[in-house]
Amino acid sequence: MKLYAYCLVEDPDAFDASTRGISGATVRLLQIDELAVLVTDFNADTIAVTRENALDHAAVVRSVLDRTTPLPFRFGTLVTEQQLRSYISARKPALQTRFAHVRGCVEMSVKVIRELSDEIKTQSRDEITTGTSFLEEKRREILGSEQKTAEAREIETWLHEQVGGLIRDEQVTIRPSEKLVLAAAHLVERDKIGQYKEKTAAARKNRPELHFLFSGPWPPYSFANIELEFKTQFGVS
């Protein structure tokens, strides 16, 4: 018998026993040392990545957010109770550190789309027959991509300047060659959410050439992972 694990919580009182999880199963709290895990019973070896399952997962993690800040598991965490106990016991210090880091916060997301100017292909594929013309074409591509990278980094820096004072932590990804040029997760203290929303609303007005998507508040999915600490500690990749 497997368990589907949704999230870790520090505060078991935050749990509402009427919560339903994947496939309508009853969510229960599994106490492991000082921490607790929200789980449902699951009797298959695989979980399908469907809209319904993903939303159910998100809903369960969301259900505790009003009263405590959980450490969410990634979608698809199917384990035995034993695996769960081993995992938590082995990583307790790292998990406690994570909890301390996200305590009192939520995650707010920012995504930015910017238009890409059309690539000017100077030579068609058929014309590139010599090694030299191949490299020259690569050079043009690289120059173009360097400019896009500079643009992406500028947006990243600008965004950080806007919200830097209001966030505890951030996870930012930039993709210079794509329309979705930046995706940021911001760890924001709950009493600062109002200010954060004001700041981002104002910031968006200053950059009319960029298209923004703001979402939140979320449980801190992007700040839950402890892999990095684990890696540093043991020097293992």
Binding site: A54, V61, L84, S222, N225, E227
Partner: protein
């Protein structure tokens, strides 16, 4: 590999629901605590490749075997 999602119908009322689902997916997949174990392949302290253990079971030496098998098919 095909996805098991419903076809997204483009109409006013579906758009916002789908965006909400996509944003939710973006959060619950690829983020959060991972138990199953992942491999991060680093070179000179720089993380290069992140591989989920669900898809990688054997070592890189067997890559040649896989390629050879494909060629004889």
């Amino acid at each position: 590999m095909s996805s098991s999602f419903d076809q997204i119908i483009v109409s006013e009322e579906w758009e916002s629901t789908d965006l909400s689902m996509l944003e939710t997916l973006d959060h619950v997949l690829n983020r959060g605590l991972v138990i199953a174990g992942e491999i991060t392949i680093s070179v000179a302290d720089i993380d290069l490749i992140f591989v989920g253990l669900n898809v990688l079971v054997s070592s890189v030496e067997t890559a040649n075997e896989v390629l050879r098998k494909r060629q004889t098919e």
